[in-house]
Each structure stands twice: as C-alpha cells, then as structure tokens.
C-alpha cells in the first residue's frame, strides 16, 4: 500500500507544488510537506493523524500554490466541511484518496472508512454502529452517571479542541471565562464538553480523533456520533458529502414539525 502511494505521489508531483502527507518520525508520524525531488522513503500512512489542519495552515501561507494531500475518508469529509466555511480551498487542492484497512476501520469504529475517490487500497465495509444503541438502552440516570464520571476525569488540556480540524475559530468560547470558569479542573459539568459538542454539530464528521487524543480516555465519540446520526436522519444533512451544499446552519432547512425528533426521555 505504501509502495503504491509512493508511486502515486511521484506521478502527481510534477503537477503540484508539494504533497502534504505523513512522515515517519521515530515510532510515530508527523504531518510533512513533501516538495518536488524530496526523498519519499520516510513516507508513512499509520499511525494516523488528521491532515486537514496542516492543509489549512499551509494554504493560508501559500494561497497561490497548488498542493496535493493524502486523505482517508474522514480527512476528505473534514476538508469538504472546511471548504464550505472558506478555511481551505478545494480548487487548489488535489486529493489522493486512501481506503482504510479492515483493522483501521475497526480501530476507529468507522462507518465509512473510504473517501469518495479511492486511489490507493481496497474499500472495506463500514463498522455497524451498534454501540450507540447499546448506550441509548441505558436509563437516563445511568447515562448521566456515565458522563459525570467521564467528564470528572477531564484535565482541560483542550486536546479535543486542538486536534479537531473543524475547530478553527480564532476566538474560542471554551477559553472565555464567562462560559468555562478558568483555573478549575475538571470543568463544571454541563459546560465545557456539551458546548463543544453543540458547536461542532453539522460539521463534525465523527472521525473520533478527539477521543483518541484525550489523555483521560473520555468516550467522546459516543456523543458526537449520536449527534451526527440525528443531523443525518432529521435534517438529511451528511457532513462532508457535498462541497456545493451550504453549511447546515446557513441552510434554509428547518423542522416543520418539532415532533420529528424523539429525544430519549427514559
């Protein structure tokens, strides 16, 4: 797979000014901008790291240059949502689609482990999201206790926000003393995490990077995946599907009937 990717990058390199991909650093990987003529021997695919944020930073610095980027399914969807909000520019970006392996898909509990256009690797089926229904089967008191226990472990490192490609605001409410009291750990119960969850509704592609980054192992993916599922079933808005569709909040979609949503009351 890595060999095929190397070949593909060499093929694309003459048409672009650089390729954004992962490079092996010690035992891990780091985002790297490969320039024409660069040695591709340190190119890597895993462990994964979301590349949309490096794309945003690099494109902001070199707005006239043309880049290619190696994307997995989630990277591609994140880039589409960012492009809708003018954070990156798709017309100056070539995507090299990589399909995830079965192991990677299982590790991420990914519903859609492949980009729209697959250049490298073979498409595998998504993982059924049964753990969401298992979670919802719990009574309300248990769900509350579950999150209270989980959020009590938060050390407010802001890792979930920093890793998130969709968190690109220059000013963040989570840093505002009015909403999240500074100098206290863990953050007071409903404030920090629920605010972040609401602020990413409609752009979160549920890649699960926040959960993997979290040093306290807070199972954030459950919350984000549940919200994403609601956005899909109720508003028929699929985050990252169509770059020509307006963002959910800017669209004129509205709920004609409030009873379309059935929050679990039990």
């Amino acid at each position: 797979m890595l060999e095929a990717l190397r070949k593909k990058i060499q093929e694309i390199m003459p048409q672009v000014d650089g390729v954004i991909a992962l490079r092996r650093v010690g035992k891990g990987t780091a985002p790297h901008l490969f320039l024409p003529g660069d040695d591709l021997s340190e190119l890597a695919l895993s462990p994964q790291f979301p590349l949309p944020t490096p794309v945003r930073i690099i494109q902001a610095k070199y707005p006239d240059k043309r880049f290619a980027v190696v994307v997995r399914g989630c990277d591609e969807r994140q880039l589409v949502e960012m492009a809708k909000r003018r954070q990156i520019f798709l017309d100056k970006l070539t995507m090299i689609g990589v399909a995830c392996t079965k192991e990677q898909a299982e590790y991420c509990r990914c519903e859609m482990p492949f980009p729209k256009q697959v250049d490298i690797g073979e498409t595998v089926e998504g993982i059924p999201q049964t753990f969401l229904d298992d979670f919802l089967a719990k009574p309300r008191e248990e769900r509350l206790a579950f999150w209270k226990h989980a959020f009590a472990k938060c050390i407010k490192c802001y890792g979930c926000r920093n890793i998130c490609p969709e968190c690109f605001c220059k000013e963040c409410v989570l840093e505002d003393n009015l909403w999240v009291t500074s100098g206290t750990v863990p953050p007071p119960f409903p404030m920090f995490h629920l605010i972040r969850a609401m602020h990413t509704v409609g752009k979160c592609v549920a890649c699960g990077e926040c959960e993997r980054t979290c040093p306290a192992d807070i199972p954030l993916t459950i919350l984000y995946k549940l919200l994403k599922r609601d956005v899909e079933t109720v508003f028929h808005y699929y985050a990252g599907a169509d770059p020509n569709e307006p963002p959910l909040m800017d669209s004129t979609i509205f709920l004609a009937d409030m009873d379309m949503l059935h929050p679990p009351r039990r």
Binding site: L136, R140, E141, E142, R143, L144, A145, F146, W147, K148, V173, L178, W179, P188, F189, P190, M191, L194, I195, A197, M198, H199, V201, G202, I222, L223, L226, L227, D230, V231, V234, F235, L248, M249, S251, T252, I253, F254, L255, M258, L261, P263, P264, R265
Partner: protein, 148 residues
C-alpha cells in the same frame, strides 16, 4: 427544646424558568398578555434577545448550570423573522440541544422551543402555564446537576 428551624415549614417547590424571548414577536406577545390582563405563572424570568437565533447553546447550558429548572426559547413563526432566517437557525439549534441534553442524561423536556407572534398573547400565557407544570413535575435541576 426544639431548634427554631424545625418549626419553619419548607416552602413548596417553585420551578425557576428562564425565558429567552425574541424582541420582535414573542416579547411583544408577552407584552400583549400583560396588557390584556392575562395571568400566567410568575416562575418565568424573561430575558429579551434581539432574535431567537441569538440564543447560543452556551446561554442555555449556563442557565441550567446556574440553577434554572427550565429554559424556554420563544421566537417568531417561521417566515416572520425580522432578520429573515434567524429562526431557521433556532429551529435547528434548540432541537439538537434537546437531543444532546437527553444523551448527556438531562431531561430534554427542561428545554422547550415555541413560536409566538406579537398577536398571540393568549398563546404565550398558555405555553408558560403548560411549561411551568412540566418543569414542576420534573423537579429541581439540583437533583440532576449535583447527584446522579
């Protein structure tokens, strides 16, 4: 000798409700309820906002965090928004926040969204009465926020 406190009866539970009312329709609707001499529960504390689309999730969550037992958001009917599409945003944001509250283990019925026009004073009074009863049944938010 009994302590003086033991003779003091606990006052019955009265829910605290924060209402975010849009300036152009719902606030005028509440005004109409007042000028029409309609009575509605005094449990609601009204905060006037320019548009119901301005009610961000952190405002609602902060209200709950500070001890509000219920939050009600009232805006113009769809199509009547002074800012054209402000309430379209509300109509997505508040239902999603209700979902999130439910997933996090807080009763979603503590948050309610309704459309009230400037001519619907009676509707305003009815909604506030109804919502106060809903929240009274759910009980104090302290039970949710402190224990659990």
């Amino acid at each position: 000798m009994s302590s003086p406190e033991s003779n003091v009866q606990q006052p019955p539970y009265e829910p605290k409700i924060i209402g975010f009312l849009c300036n152009w329709c719902s606030y005028a609707g509440a005004d109409l309820a007042g000028t029409s001499r309609l009575s509605y529960p005094p449990n609601i504390r009204i905060v006037r906002v320019q548009c119901s689309g301005r009610v961000s999730p952190e405002l609602v969550l902060k209200a709950f965090h500070e001890g509000a037992d219920g939050v009600i958001v009232l805006g113009c009917h769809i199509g009547d928004c002074h800012y054209i599409d402000g309430n379209h945003r509300t109509s997505k944001r508040i239902p999603m926040l209700r979902q999130l509250l439910a997933y996090a283990g807080i009763e979603p019925d503590r948050l309610r969204l309704e459309w009230v026009s400037a001519a619907e004073g009676e509707r305003f009074a009815t909604i506030v009465k109804e919502f106060t009863e809903t929240v009274r049944e759910l009980g104090p938010i302290k039970r949710v926020m402190v224990t659990g």
